[in-house]
């Protein structure tokens, strides 16, 4: 028997799974706030960067490129390329979001990052409108508030602590992926294949950052389809 879970329960689940993201985002956002200040960007514009762009890697890259005097059109293009990987991620989520009313999709889409995507993908049984919205909102708040705090008092966090907190996001990726490896041999091989494919793409130096990630995702996922086509039929959809 399926028990209808209350909104309250879903919200609580959202908060619990958001915790690692909140902890990881805050110091990185602080670092962004501090660096933006050092690039002499106003407090308002720095906050707007985090509120409207909400993409860590792109925002740091933008600071670099602003400092290097790159034109705004080129910065926007580079941002687009770097975030193209989210096309693949949200395409993958679209299949899982059947139960979510369409009117919420524009709002939910705004909050999809590498981190929220990962947490949602590995908690498919919990997917509901309130679960996803709570997760996205808390992650977003941590990013925006962290940026503002960093702009104002960024100097107070010692660098080693900042670095280890940002390693926390990678620790989270690993903590999400490893238990899945346990469940299926195919996933284990596919993870190894993906890593090898990316290493080849990265060191080939043929593609700029952004393209190498999206190509890596496409190639290794396609290899998964080719290699595991028979075993996938056993898995009930």
């Amino acid at each position: 028997m399926i028990v209808e879970k209350s909104i309250h329960y879903k919200v609580k689940q959202g908060i619990v799974v958001a915790l690692p993201i909140i902890i990881g985002y805050f110091p990185i956002a602080m670092a962004f706030g501090l660096m933006a200040k050092n690039t002499s960007i106003s407090f308002l514009d720095t906050s707007l960067f985090s509120m409207m762009v909400f993409a860590g890697a792109s925002q740091f890259m933008a600071l670099d490129l602003i400092g290097a005097g790159v034109t705004w059109a080129n910065i926007i293009l580079a941002t687009f390329l770097l975030n193209l990987r989210h096309l693949m991620m949200t395409a993958s989520l679209a299949v899982e979001f059947k139960s979510i009313p369409k009117k919420f999709l524009p709002l939910i889409g705004f909050g999809i990052t590498d981190e929220t995507f990962s947490v949602i993908s590995f908690n498919k049984d919990k997917i509901s409108t309130s679960f996803v919205l709570v997760l996205n909102f808390l992650s977003y708040s941590s990013w925006v508030i962290g940026t503002m705090v960093g702009y104002i008092v960024g100097e107070i966090i010692p660098a080693p602590l900042q670095t280890s907190l940002s390693i926390g996001l990678y620790a989270m990726f690993a903590a999400l992926l490893f238990p899945e490896i346990n469940k299926s041999k195919n996933i284990f091989f596919l993870s190894i294949i993906s890593a090898i494919v990316y290493i080849i793409l990265f060191y080939s130096n043929l593609f700029t950052s952004g393209w190498d990630i999206i190509l890596g995702i496409i190639i290794s996922s396609a290899l998964g389809v080719v290699f595991f086509i028979n075993s996938s039929k056993e898995r009930e959809k």
Binding site: I76, T163, A171, V225
Partner: protein, 102 residues
């Protein structure tokens, strides 16, 4: 100070559109089994890629701390299945290693 608002709006669109379009475009379309299979693998392949990318792009003096933090978090969640505990252990271990190496 100059205003960056046009740049911010442009970058905002450049990040929002790739996040939004597949969600809306694919939401009630019949999806071919092969494509579904391909989409099913994306979380695994992208996570592997993000992790390996984190390791190979880490500064050389942070590499050991990064690998150790990732490894302990992965192993703990593999054994215990607790996400928050695993992540905090990863952070703690990398913090200790960074402090030892300074």
């Amino acid at each position: 100070m100059r205003t960056y608002i046009p740049l911010i709006i442009g970058m905002g669109l450049a990040t929002y559109l790739p996040r939004l379009i597949p969600l809306v475009a694919l939401s009630d379309r019949k999806i071919d089994d092969r494509v579904r299979e391909f989409l099913y693998y994306i979380p695994y392949t992208s996570l592997s890629i993000l992790i390996i990318r984190g390791i190979i792009t880490a500064d050389s003096n942070m590499k050991i701390a990064t690998i150790a933090g990732i490894a302990i978090a992965g192993i703990l969640s593999y054994k215990k299945g607790n996400l928050v505990l695993s992540v905090l252990s990863g952070i703690l271990l990398s913090f200790l290693i960074i402090n030892m190496s300074i």
